[in-house]
């Protein structure tokens, strides 16, 4: 174990908002004084974001569960021939969006499996129809692996794909499909999914076209602590170049009903989650917003994450299917409940847009 003065030096470096390196990140992970780590993260959170805790009213709609990627950590995908396979029609999607908009949603996060039967026009049509019928809702559609897949299946470049989708109304990208940005673990758990470099390429291209995105991390897939730190540093390096990430959202692998469940003994613990959130705050010195994930950690632990560097409570999740397939009972969390959880710890709460503009203060 590291002696505490070494940790103090790292803490002081982080508090000066200097970039930490892999070794320093690892030292933070191996440190067992959770509360001190939390205090540094909390101090940084206060410096960067103040006390306001934000959230978005949103819905996650999954247009298809047909996916050729076959990632071991996923409980959601089905093969084309499966009886449970589905692909939503345009009208079905519009109905779901309407339901969300009626509940006050300002953001629709639309993503799905890598379905080889869907042409780029399918995606364009959804974007156009959404823009036409629900012009005030943020179209936060398609993760980098989908963008990459659409480009591949339609035989056009990434840039061209993104340009066409932007033309059709795409406004921002969700940061999914990142999992752990280290090919060592990607080869084991998601060999058919984009490599970390390809993920980066989609993000950099999107940012260069003016499309903001989030960045995510799914840990607990059997990767080393070093891979987790590498992930954070790679996100920071992209952000240094583009400035296009609006937020970072880490969460732990949800093992139920997945192929990987049999291989990993303990996917992640409460302590690991708080460490991840705090270390993200320390390492990502150039990303303002860090989200707590009540969907995967439960509202109790997510509320505690607000003391460990998180400044945002994510979304109300009017609809969500992917995490639910992995055994998590995530229900819609109405804004009043989120506000209550935030006020319970003595912080002011506000509803925000996808791009972190404040809509309503409570």
């Amino acid at each position: 174990m590291l002696i505490e003065t070494e940790l103090t030096a790292i803490y002081e470096k982080a508090l000066a908002r200097e970039p930490l390196d892999i070794e320093e990140g690892l030292a933070l992970f191996k440190n067992n004084d959770l509360v001190s780590l939390g205090t540094v993260a909390d101090t940084l959170r206060k410096m960067v974001c103040g006390d306001l805790v934000t959230f978005v009213i949103d819905s996650n709609i999954n247009y298809t569960n047909v996916c050729v990627s076959g990632c071991k950590f996923c409980a959601f995908y089905r093969s084309k021939k499966s009886r449970e396979a589905y692909t939503l029609t345009l009208e079905e999607i519009m109905e779901k969006i309407k339901k969300a908009v009626d509940l006050g949603a300002t953001q629709i996060l639309l993503q799905g499996g890598l379905n080889p039967d869907l042409p780029i026009e399918y995606y364009e049509d959804i974007l156009k129809a959404t823009q036409e019928r629900f012009p005030h809702v943020q179209r936060h559609f398609f993760s980098p692996s989908e963008i990459h897949f659409i480009s591949k299946t339609s035989g056009i470049s990434l840039r061209e794909t993104l340009e066409r989708l932007i033309e059709a109304g795409l406004q921002s990208l969700p940061g999914g499909g990142a999992e752990i940005l280290d090919d060592e673990i990607r080869k084991k758990v998601s060999p058919n999914k984009i490599s970390w470099e390809e993920w980066k390429k989609v993000m950099v291209t999107a940012h260069s076209l003016g499309l903001p995105t989030t960045a995510t991390m799914v840990y607990g897939l059997g990767e080393s602590y070093k891979s987790r730190i590498k992930h954070l540093i790679r996100i920071r390096e992209i952000q240094d170049k583009t400035g296009g990430f609006t937020a970072f959202i880490p969460w732990s692998f949800q093992p139920q009903n997945t192929k990987l469940a049999r291989e990993t003994y303990m996917s992640s613990t409460g302590v690991d989650y708080l460490k991840i959130v705090a270390i993200s705050r320390l390492i990502l010195n150039n990303i303002r917003n860090i989200q707590a994930s009540w969907v995967t950690q439960g509202t109790k632990v997510a509320q505690i994450a607000l003391f460990y560097g998180a400044n945002d409570f994510g979304g109300t999740m009017i609809e969500e299917n992917v995490v639910r397939a992995a055994g998590v009972k995530s229900n819609y969390l109405p804004p009043e409940k989120i506000v209550r959880l935030i006020k319970d710890i003595g912080r002011p709460a506000a509803q925000r847009t996808t791009l972190y503009k404040i809509i309503k203060e409570y």
């Binding site: 505490e4 003065t5 940790l7 103090t8 803490y11 067992n32 004084d33 959770l34 509360v35 001190s36 939390g38 205090t39 909390d42 101090t43 003994y265 303990m266 613990t269 409460g270 302590v271 690991d272 989650y273 708080l274 950690q297 439960g298 509202t299 109790k300 632990v301 997510a302 509320q303 505690i304 003391f307 409940k337 959880l341 319970d344 710890i345 003595g346 912080r347």
Partner: protein, 381 residues
């Protein structure tokens, strides 16, 4: 000696002078009073509470986190007490009601003994018909068939009820159970030690004074016990502080409490929720962690062990609470019915392997203990 990290935390980032005074007092080993306790409950500075509680935990018990290989048995859910915070009880003859026979209990004990379990935690309810002899016989028969096991059974509330139905004094009840083979007592039935509040939430149960009296009697008879606090229903912060002070006072007299177990209220299916008196979420994560931390801070020099009861906290929060003053993770439990009835998600399944992994992942050293907190084995890597 204050650790560097804690120092950084406590003195560099706390701008709350009230809290600073209490922290100074606590670190100097002075006894905290009621107003100090209330100050601790009034802060939103969870990290400061955690740092102080963690420092005290480290000074008192070091880095060892204990657990038991035990089995819980809830022998009946038929209860005339009908507490409004309880989702577990049933009326006699009502669908879902059950009462185990002594044979059934013996079978459960046997099944666990075969797996190497020696510690049994046996708690039920206030059954309208069973005579005191049933309980006495239960303990006798278990000890007769399995003399090597330790029986931790019957809350002070049950002891009080046994006294009522048998006409014996509580002391006599305790003596007879001890003679039958009772090893120690769990800490349940304390809820919140406040008479006014008990009229609302458990009017038919042992009084606050009665609970304390029975515990002290047990301690004087050489029966060690735990103590609990059910929080997050109708009580105030002051009630919680008073509860802790009441326990501290009793402990100074008899020194028989081996562990304190703060229990977050689970509202689902309870009369309190049905009557709209509580929200459906129960206490928040913040409320749970601060209560565990304040328990450590207020009780530290008196009750050594603060237990994170994972059945009610959930695995994640139970593990986190090891950084907020707790130093025990309860045990393997096997079968738990009371919290489950109130919507608890953890259920009763926990393996030794998982307990070890959770403790190690929290950066602590696991150790197997008995029901009376003797350490049997330290798992050094």
């Amino acid at each position: 000696m204050v650790r560097r990290g804690t120092e950084l935390l406590l003195y560099k980032y706390i701008n709350d002078s009230d809290l600073k005074d209490v922290i100074d007092k606590s670190l100097a080993g002075e006894e905290l009073d009621r107003s100090d306790g209330i100050t601790l409950f009034n802060t939103n500075n969870l990290l400061a509470l955690g740092a102080l509680a963690d420092e005290l935990r480290k000074r008192t018990v070091g880095d060892i986190v204990t657990f038991a290989l035990n089995r819980h048995i809830n022998y009946t859910n038929v209860c005339i007490s009908k507490c409004s915070f309880c989702a577990y009880y049933r009326e006699k003859g009502q669908a879902g009601s059950y009462t185990m026979s002594i044979d059934e209990i013996l079978k459960k004990v046997e099944g666990s003994v075969k797996k190497g379990i020696k510690d049994f935690h046996i708690v039920g309810s206030h059954h309208p018909d069973l005579p005191f002899e049933f309980y006495e016989e239960m303990v006798k028969m278990i000890k007769k068939k399995f003399p090597e096991v330790h029986i931790q059974a019957f809350t002070a509330a049950e002891i009080n009820y046994f006294s009522e139905i048998s006409g014996l004094s509580t002391k006599e009840v305790l003596q007879r159970l001890k003679d039958a083979g009772l090893g120690s007592m769990p800490g349940g039935g304390a809820e919140i030690l406040n008479e006014e509040l008990r009229k609302k939430i458990c009017p038919n149960k042992v009084s606050a004074e009665g609970w304390i009296k029975i515990m002290k009697e047990a301690h004087l008879l050489g029966i060690k016990s735990n103590a609990t606090m059910l929080f997050g229903h109708l009580e105030s912060k002051e009630d919680r502080v008073d509860h802790l002070l009441w326990l501290r006072k009793a402990q100074k007299e008899t020194n028989g409490f081996q562990a304190f177990i703060p229990l977050p209220f689970h509202p689902k299916n309870t009369p309190l929720l049905k009557d709209g008196l509580v929200s459906e979420e129960g206490p928040s994560g913040f409320d749970i962690l601060r209560t565990i931390a304040i328990s450590r801070i207020m009780l530290n020099d008196y009750i050594t062990n603060i237990k994170a009861y994972w059945v009610m906290l959930g695995e994640k929060l139970a593990q986190i609470s090891l950084h907020y003053g707790a130093n025990d993770l309860e045990g393997t439990v096997v079968e738990e019915r009371i919290t489950k009835a109130a919507g608890g998600i953890a259920g009763g399944m926990m393996t030794e392997k998982k307990l070890l992994a959770l403790i190690r992942n929290a950066g602590r050293i696991p150790a197997l203990r008995t029901s009376v907190h003797e350490i049997l084995r330290v798992y050094r890597e």
